[in-house]
């Protein structure tokens, strides 16, 4: 492992196997967030598939503007611009698709098996190692573009995480002891993303959903959902529906569907 080594952009460009995603790659030392930068390009059709990569983000963010830490050279912080011509109701699936693609890339490079938490968190040994945030822009009901923002913790050690999240967040190195080239992982992620994105565009959504479902951390478990309205709802996780919504069987034996919520596994 080479501390403080920048990503080798030439190596990345020479070894890229994907045909759409990453054909244009823009590298930055420091940005507010890669999603913010991607936004500037995203409306122009010639940037479909463009990847924005930064060594560090000063304002990396998660859902509802929560902070995402992006220490320089210790992870992969990047965004992918996509302009799919897909029905709006299917777009939420890109969230599940991205996490599943990332899971598969990690298996290929590190031979470990992460699990997925709805809708798109990636866990290894019950610790979160990656965060994904998607942003899109609609003119009324017409989609302009989608940006998939991905953060992967690669080489951090536990000292790199603040105390509050030290027990729940980790990195690939901390969990596996393996030192990998960040370039190798990034190339594999882009390859898997494109592979699954082409399946998405072809309309074979069940393939993506089935793979996601098989690798879900809370499959058949009792969970508690915290909804955006501030409610807590408990029940048995039943799976995802065809749009990627979470299906919950509540104690009164009703099935409910959620399109946004935080999931917590209730220990038996």
């Amino acid at each position: 492992m080479h501390p403080n080594r920048k990503l080798d952009s030439d190596y990345l460009k020479q070894n890229l196997s994907s045909k759409i995603i990453g054909q244009e790659m823009l590298f930055f030392n420091s940005v507010t967030s890669t999603n913010e930068v991607a936004r500037k390009f995203a409306s122009n059709s010639k940037y479909n598939g463009t990847v924005i990569v930064a060594e560090t983000q000063t304002k990396g963010k998660g859902r509802q503007e929560r902070k995402w830490l992006s220490p320089a050279y210790k992870g992969l912080w990047f965004s992918v611009v996509l302009q799919p011509d897909s029905p709006a109701e299917n777009l939420g699936l890109l969230s599940l698709l991205a996490s599943n693609a990332l899971r598969k890339a990690i298996i290929t490079i590190l031979n470990v098996h992460p699990q997925l938490k709805w809708p798109n968190d990636i866990f290894l040994n019950d610790k979160k190692i990656s965060g994904i945030l998607l942003e899109s822009v609609f003119q009324g009901t017409k989609l302009n573009h989608v940006i998939i923002g991905i953060g992967i913790n690669v080489t951090q050690t536990s000292d790199d995480f603040p105390k509050e999240i030290n027990s729940i967040a980790s990195s690939l190195y901390s969990e596996t002891g393996q030192r990998i080239k960040r370039e190798t992982l990034l190339l594999e992620v882009l390859h898997q993303l494109e592979h699954d994105y082409l399946i998405f565009l072809s309309g074979d959504l069940n393939l993506i959903l089935t793979e996601w479902d098989e690798n879900c951390l809370h499959k058949d478990q009792q969970v508690e959902l915290s909804t955006p309205g501030g409610k807590l709802v408990s029940g048995k996780y039943q799976g995802v529906d065809t749009f990627g919504n979470l299906c919950l069987l509540t104690p009164d034996n009703n099935s409910s569907i959620f399109s946004s919520a935080e999931v917590r596994i209730v220990q038996p």
């Binding site: 777009l91 945030l133 822009v137 309309g203 749009f243 399109s259």
Partner: protein
């Protein structure tokens, strides 16, 4: 859409205080079902199959369609003002601001330009920014922040300038 599913949706409408729902499936072929309640409270279903649908086998056969089953299923307010309505492009959660402690994008009375962000609809951690299609004034905000919204549900009324 299968007959039993249509029956189930009719039942949902009958038992709820939703006046009308419309569901469009576009995965493999387009099918639209619109169920509206008449004045006596019973639901009528009028199904328009635009193209022969080949319904997706859901991973969970028991799972209800998301449009009708959100626990706090939005009851679309009747649109009373004149003007163009801005509709939700998808099922999700409506937010008036980018973060819980941030100012709302717009208020009633705000003058907005075409392309200005009005709100976010979130689904599966995909934050969809909805931009105004017209320049004008917000005359009504039809949904509370943090509430679930349905596909095509009106969110704002904009009086064109």
């Amino acid at each position: 859409m299968k007959e039993e599913e249509i029956r189930r949706l009719v039942k949902i409408v009958e038992e709820s205080n939703i006046a009308e729902i419309e569901i469009t499936e576009t995965r493999w072929g387009k099918s639209t079902i619109k169920i509206s309640k008449n004045s006596s409270g019973a639901a009528n279903s009028s199904t328009h199959i635009i193209q022969a649908p080949s319904p997706a086998a859901p991973l969970l056969p028991t799972a209800p369609a998301p449009v009708a089953a959100s626990p706090a299923s939005a009851e679309a307010k009747p649109v009373t003002s004149s003007g163009a309505d801005i509709k939700s492009p998808m099922v999700g959660t409506f937010y008036r601001s980018p973060a819980p402690d941030a100012d709302p994008y717009v208020e009633v009375g705000s003058v907005v330009k075409k392309g200005q962000v009005l709100c976010i609809v979130e689904a599966m951690k995909l934050m969809n920014e909805i931009e105004s299609e017209t320049t004008g004034k917000i005359v009504e905000i039809l949904v509370e922040s943090g509430q679930p919204v349905e596909y095509n549900q009106p969110l704002f009324i904009v009086e064109p300038a």
